[in-house]
């Protein structure tokens, strides 16, 4: 049995014995083969001495069991690391930041505690995945639409706590923003409820976020201050219909105007779905591939590439747009068509020569035969379709062993897109890195968050240590160079979290120092998720 660093083997054995009394012998894992299941399968450090590994796992089934486990951990100073579904792949997985931690696996806490269709909210435990909630809605004919990320096997709570997102209307697709009320087990085992939940017998825990006094929910995200055991979420009422329309522009210089109009359509709530920017000439977005005629044309060119001017000329000659914006609308059918007509007028007045294409008007609830033809998350249908990127395909015959994300936030402007691509492409070239999800040089950002863009690069995990080490080096360079330009990441895998957090260094790392002050006050023994997002307990600070 592995023993956490700094913990006496005898004391660890006593703690394990007490964990077994709490959760049952079969739900404490100490055998190597069982503990190996908690490795981060997408770890960029796989098989190296730096890989973060658990010593054991404990799997409670209730909040009360979590409290008791945490108290034991506190007594024996055992480092523990809670996971919800353990599927934060590319940003973490089920392995701890601090090797030797005992994973607190909350997957067995999988109850959907309430679903209120009329008030459009749910209350769930950490082990509930998007698939689980979707099945529940289907079985009980609940007319609510889940905002799911591309992979649907993750936890609603885990995803929200790591600031994940989806594709529906802005109030729902930022998953942390869409939550309403938390229950948290603090590192001393005390139970806390936030917002209206602090009021005994509260009638509106999932209806009003703030309660009274400081709103502290944020400190439990991307942190290590508590174990979240319940969380409420607002869920989108099922609309009558979904419609999308695409705007095409044909000059490279049209980008800024396209982004401005896209922003206006969303900020004014005329287009209430997630807008999707793409470039048929460059490729560079996940859902709209590079036009095949461009691919064929470039294959005939020396070095497989041409200048931007040549690309634009090829596009103009072949009527291939430089840019496209897909606007999305949820609501009543007539209103959607009117909104799209208005958006067309706005774009036509702002961007010379734009053309338009109507999408399909999809009616809710979807029919089974609709599902193969849609991008499922836009309709609240969880899937694992996105894993086709990285899997073995005709174009990718040697499959990857996972991916690691690099995701800087940039302003929602055309200028920022060009500038970020200029800086990032140079580093990708220097480090021989390829975004394995687009496989083109130019990256078009996504508009998950209501007022920013996020550029998302996925780099292949190869399990060839030398190659993966070079990938880490390259990403760390990207992080530091982007920081010099004022772009920081919104989320990161454990191997990168400290580098990312260190870039947020305003006023001599005042934010990190504040978080460390909180850590020392809330978790004085430093048992919970040591090192998560760069927050180390006092006894490990500056030693790792």
């Amino acid at each position: 049995m592995k023993v956490p660093p700094g913990v006496d083997a005898g004391q660890f054995a006593q703690a394990i014995a007490q964990f077994k009394q709490i959760v049952g012998e079969e739900w404490v894992f100490t055998e190597d083969a069982d503990v190996a299941l908690y490795r981060d399968a997408y770890s960029i450090l796989w098989g190296t001495p730096e890989e973060r590994l658990a010593s054991a796992a404990v799997c409670p089934q209730s909040t009360e069991e979590v409290q008791r486990v945490v108290r034991i951990a506190n007594t024996y100073r055992i480092p523990i690391y809670p996971i919800s579904c353990g599927r934060n792949l590319g940003y973490g997985g089920s392995a701890p930041n601090y090797s030797g931690s005992v994973v607190l696996d909350l997957k067995r806490m999988n109850r959907i505690l309430s679903v209120d269709e009329a008030r459009a909210h749910v209350l769930v435990e950490p082990g509930v995945s998007y698939f689980d909630l979707y099945r529940h809605f289907q079985e009980h004919n609940v007319r609510l639409v889940i905002d799911t990320p591309d992979p649907g096997w993750g936890s609603l709570i885990g995803n929200a706590l790591d600031h994940g997102g989806g594709y529906l209307q802005a109030p729902y697709r930022n998953h942390f923003d869409s939550h309403c009320g938390m229950e948290v087990v603090l590192p001393n085992g005390e139970l806390l409820r936030t917002g209206m939940g602090a009021l005994p017998g509260a009638q509106s825990w999932q209806d009003y976020k703030f309660g009274v006094g400081p709103w502290i929910d944020g400190i439990f995200s991307q942190s290590n201050f508590g174990v979240v055991t319940k969380m409420g979420f607002w869920v989108m009422p099922m609309p009558d219909a979904f419609f999308s329309g695409t705007v095409f522009a044909y000059r490279r210089d049209d980008l800024s105007a396209m982004v401005e109009e896209m922003n206006y359509a969303q900020y004014s709530d005329i287009s209430n779905g997630m807008p999707f920017l793409a470039s048929p000439l460059y490729g560079g977005s996940t859902l709209v591939p590079r036009d095949q005629r461009v691919v064929d044309y470039l294959a005939t060119q020396p070095g497989g590439d041409v200048s931007d001017e040549q690309l634009q000329a090829f596009g103009k000659a072949n009527r291939i747009p430089y840019w496209s914006v897909i606007l999305k609308f949820y609501g009543a059918e007539r209103a959607l068509r009117e909104s799209w007509e208005y958006c067309k007028q706005k774009f036509a007045a702002k961007v010379p020569g734009v053309t338009f294409q109507d999408g399909t008007m999809w009616k809710f609830p979807l029919r089974e035969q609709d599902i193969p033809h849609i991008h499922k998350p836009e309709f609240g249908v969880p899937s694992l379709d996105m894993f086709v990127r990285g899997a073995r395909t005709p174009a990718h015959p040697q499959p990857d062993w996972g991916h690691i994300w690099f995701s800087p936030i940039i302003p929602r402007t055309g200028e920022a897109i060009f500038e970020a691509n200029r800086v990032i492409t140079q580093i990708l070239t220097d480090y021989d890195l390829t975004d394995s999800y687009r496989r083109v040089k130019f990256s078009v950002p996504s508009a998950y968050w209501s007022h920013s863009f996020v550029l998302i690069y996925g780099f292949a995990v190869t399990r060839v240590p030398e190659k993966d080490r070079k990938t880490v080096e390259g990403i760390k360079m990207l992080i530091s160079e982007c920081a010099k330009h004022g772009w920081g990441e919104y989320r990161a895998a454990p191997a990168l979290q400290e580098t990312v957090v260190n870039a947020y260094s305003f006023n001599n790392h005042a934010l990190l120092h504040f978080n460390e002050t909180l850590k020392d006050a809330i978790d004085p023994n430093g048992i919970l998720s040591a090192g998560r997002y760069g927050i180390w307990p006092k006894h490990l600070r500056n030693k790792t």
């Binding site: 997408y42 698939f131 379709d385 005709p394």
Partner: protein, 131 residues
């Protein structure tokens, strides 16, 4: 429940224990596990990365759909569930318990043959011979 799964269950129930390596209850349990954890990647049609990957790997020499395979042993199924391969991660025991894995392994190691029997039974019911 897919037609193939219905065919499997019908075959398991109608042909009896003499031709089934395990009972209908275990088949149903294994099928439930498959539907919950596997079908999102290993289901039929586009948008299923596991099926797509196996189609490329085997180039038609074996079925890309796990439920059509006749060469999967329980040991192979258990190995991949607990070890993963490529972008398929291992599954923890809080996700698929050992008992559920037994059922899944029993189901998949017989699903292809059962589907064949089910197909034959359906064809026979339509008076089309066993084809």
């Amino acid at each position: 429940m897919s037609l193939r799964s219905l065919a499997y269950l019908a075959a398991a129930l109608s042909l009896g224990a003499s031709v089934c390596a395990f009972g209908a209850d275990e088949a149903a349990r294994g099928h439930t596990v498959f539907e919950q954890w596997c079908v999102a990647c290993h289901g039929e049609g586009p948008g299923h990365p596991g099926t797509g990957a196996l189609a490329v790997k085997y180039h038609g020499t074996k079925p890309a759909l796990l439920e059509q395979r006749t060469d999967l042993t329980p040991a192979i199924i258990k190995f991949y569930v607990r070890n993963g391969y490529s972008i398929m991660t291992p599954f923890r025991k809080t996700e698929i318990t050992d008992a559920q894995l037994d059922a899944l392994a029993a189901y998949l190691s017989n699903a292809g043959r059962a589907a064949g029997r089910g197909g034959a039974a359906r064809a026979a019911a339509k008076g089309q011979g066993s084809g």
